[in-house]
Amino acid sequence: MSTAPAQTLATSTKPNFKERVNGLPKGVKIALWVAFAVFLFLLPLLNIPFVTTEGSDFGGVLFTVATYVLVALGLNIVVGYAGLLDLGYVGFYAVGAYTVGVLSAEHASLPWLLAVPAAIVIAMISGVILGAPTLRVRGDYLAIVTLGFGEIVRLTLVNTQWLGGAQGISDIPKPPGLELFKVPSIDWSSGAPVIDLDTTSTFLKFGITDFVPYYWLALIVIGLVLLFDVLVKNSRVGRAWEATREDEDVAELMGVPTFRFKLLAFALGAAIGGLSGALFATKSGFINPQSFELILSILFIAAVVVGGAGNRWGITVGAIVVSYFPERFREFADFRVLVFGLALMLLAIFRPQGILPPRRTLRAKKADERQAILEEGEASA
């Protein structure tokens, strides 16, 4: 790349948004992050006009968005980092949810704090069981095999009485609460923000009507998973995934045990999928096979690809787009899916790298363009 002509290397000197943020003093950066986190935590109580969903409970919607973000983070490891197309991700989500259901309500009464780790472990094991035989087949086939897996899981849930059959599992226990203090919400009905002391959310009381604490819980989990994601991505494992994704044969020749790393990506992705399934089961209190339709896998994939597979912030945005907009625009009720489909098509045409593509993709694209200039001369550039 260093051999490229100097004039093509000349980039604009104006710092973009990212460079500006990175240029800030460390203290300011930390303060910004903290402010952003606080904003996220208070979001369901701020009731910001236009952003808040009218028809459905905003806390519940935010929780749904948060589970999508979590799922997208897990699927991003599989699709974005390791480059494996998984169309049956809902299978792991279901495994996680049902593990919590079976262990804490249907057949045993483990406490929530034990059931959730169990869900993660069992989802991970199911990922290994699915991955060990199927990761040897080529990429496109993997898509259909995983699609089949998702359906197998759902149909097994429908047809197995031990798992509650079509009725599913109910009375899934809530996580232990603390009930430390109450957080008031903000009322905008007069046109200006007024603190509303009557409508409050208790800090960590997991009830059945107020979904805000579940959203807080999901946010904390997302934070932990994000931290884990950053650490893994920047480690030897992350580099091995990248090498495998770009060229499996070359990676293998360079001494990367590609199969083992693919399996690891699959298992980690499955574990995070299981974790989000467990959260979903906790919040809704009951689960049945209808919550795990094939279409959900498709939406998960859409979240990752729309956001920009491989970029953790991109897929977060993608997950928000895929889950929040259909809820926000409920007044279009009948046309929701139609509009969503149109939006996906437009996005694919005008933003083919995703909303926020990973930096690497952008770099590769620029390198390609430079190469094209070198090959074809300045005239065609």
Binding site: V79, L85, P133, T134, R136, V137, R138, D140, Y141, A143, I144, V145, L147, G148, F149, E151, I152, L155, T156, V158, N159, L294, I298, I301, A302, V305, V306, A309, D334, F335, V337, L338, F340, G341, L342, A343, L344, M345, L346, L347, A348, I349, P352, Q353, G354
Partner: protein, 329 residues
């Protein structure tokens, strides 16, 4: 197990009829995969539109049971014309709107899947909202019979009454069964010869093998791709007619599961391989039926997918291998 043995021929024949439908739809996936290397996720909707075209033409012509043979032949012929035209049109439109812009921009392959998913949603919803669409253009009075209950099942009058032609092992093979199986095989023989012998067919094979060399040899890639979509759509239209004759009920989301099955059939036979699609369709239809006889109908789809996983483990390129695009495998 005994149940399966007692009704072996019944399961075989019904398996073959549904397998014929899978096979015809699978052709569309296989052809497109061969030339573009992408899963045309919206192909199931192409099929679904075909079922509605077949249904509407029968309603329009006032088709009903108990008509004379000549009339029935006319109706069925019109069903083929309508369904093939509709599915072919939708498939070509799909290529134009959802895939060609992406190709022009050299988009990464995964994004084509997103575009296809979007197109699939749009097509299915347009059908599911057809009463609304009709009222926008102010035709809801004239089209009431065609668009009412757009979210529910739409049934077709049985224009061919199933009559037993001969009996094999205690199962009465009906005229519909024979028509579907023979018809599907005949259509596929024609397609096979088309791809093998005609000029356009040669173009399809050339693009599948090596798009760049094909372009250098003067093959118009865009045109070949369009023809491929058209042929795949026409096949889905034929499948839609057989489906309506055998099952007789359709819905705006009828394509989805059938599409997944048909894609499974294509992979089973070796994706990109036309004869593989035929074989895969029949194998899938039979396996599903035998399997559900042994372990219960509710496990039917599980049997299909488990079979797929097993075959891919032991023969990773499908039963017959990938012939259309072998050079790039």
């Amino acid at each position: 197990m005994q149940y399966l043995l007692d009704n072996f021929f019944a399961f075989t024949i019904t398996g073959l009829t549904i397998g014929a439908v899978y096979a015809l739809v699978a052709l569309g996936y296989t052809l497109v995969y061969g030339v573009l290397r992408l899963i045309n996720f919206a192909h199931s909707e192409v099929f679904m539109f075909g079922t509605f075209a077949a249904l509407w033409i029968v309603m329009f012509l006032g088709g009903k049971g108990g008509a004379s043979v000549g009339q029935v032949i006319f109706w069925v012929a019109m069903m083929f014309v309508a369904a093939m035209a509709m599915s072919g049109l939708i498939a070509v439109l799909l290529e134009r709107v959802a895939y060609r812009p992406l190709r022009k921009r050299n988009a990464p392959p995964l994004i084509a899947l997103i575009s296809a998913i979007g197109a699939s949603f749009v097509l299915a919803e347009l059908m599911g909202l057809r009463s609304r669409v009709a009222s926008w253009v102010g035709l809801d009075d004239n089209l009431r019979d065609y668009v009412r209950n757009s979210r529910n099942n739409a049934g077709m009058p049985t224009i061919i009454a199933p009559q037993p032609i001969f009996t094999i092992g205690g199962y009465h093979v009906t005229n519909v069964d024979i028509l579907v199986i023979i018809g599907a095989i005949a259509i596929m023989v024609v397609l096979d010869q088309f791809v093998k012998r005609s000029r356009l067919g040669r173009g399809i094979r050339a693009v599948a093998m090596d798009p760049e060399s094909a372009a250098l040899m003067g093959v118009n890639r865009d045109r070949v791709i369009q023809v491929t979509f058209l042929v795949g759509g026409v096949m889905a239209g034929a499948a839609a007619v057989f489906y309506m004759l055998k099952i007789g009920i359709t819905r705006y989301d009828a394509g989805f599961i059938l599409g997944v099955k048909a894609f499974t059939a294509a992979v089973l036979g070796g994706i990109g391989n036309l004869r593989g699609a035929l074989l895969g369709g029949f194998v899938l239809g039979l396996a599903e039926n035998y399997g559900s006889a042994v372990v219960g109908t509710q496990w039917k789809d599980v049997v299909a997918f488990v079979l797929l996983v097993l075959i891919l483990l032991f023969r990773p390129t499908g039963l017959l291998g990938e012939s259309l695009g072998k050079a790039r495998a």
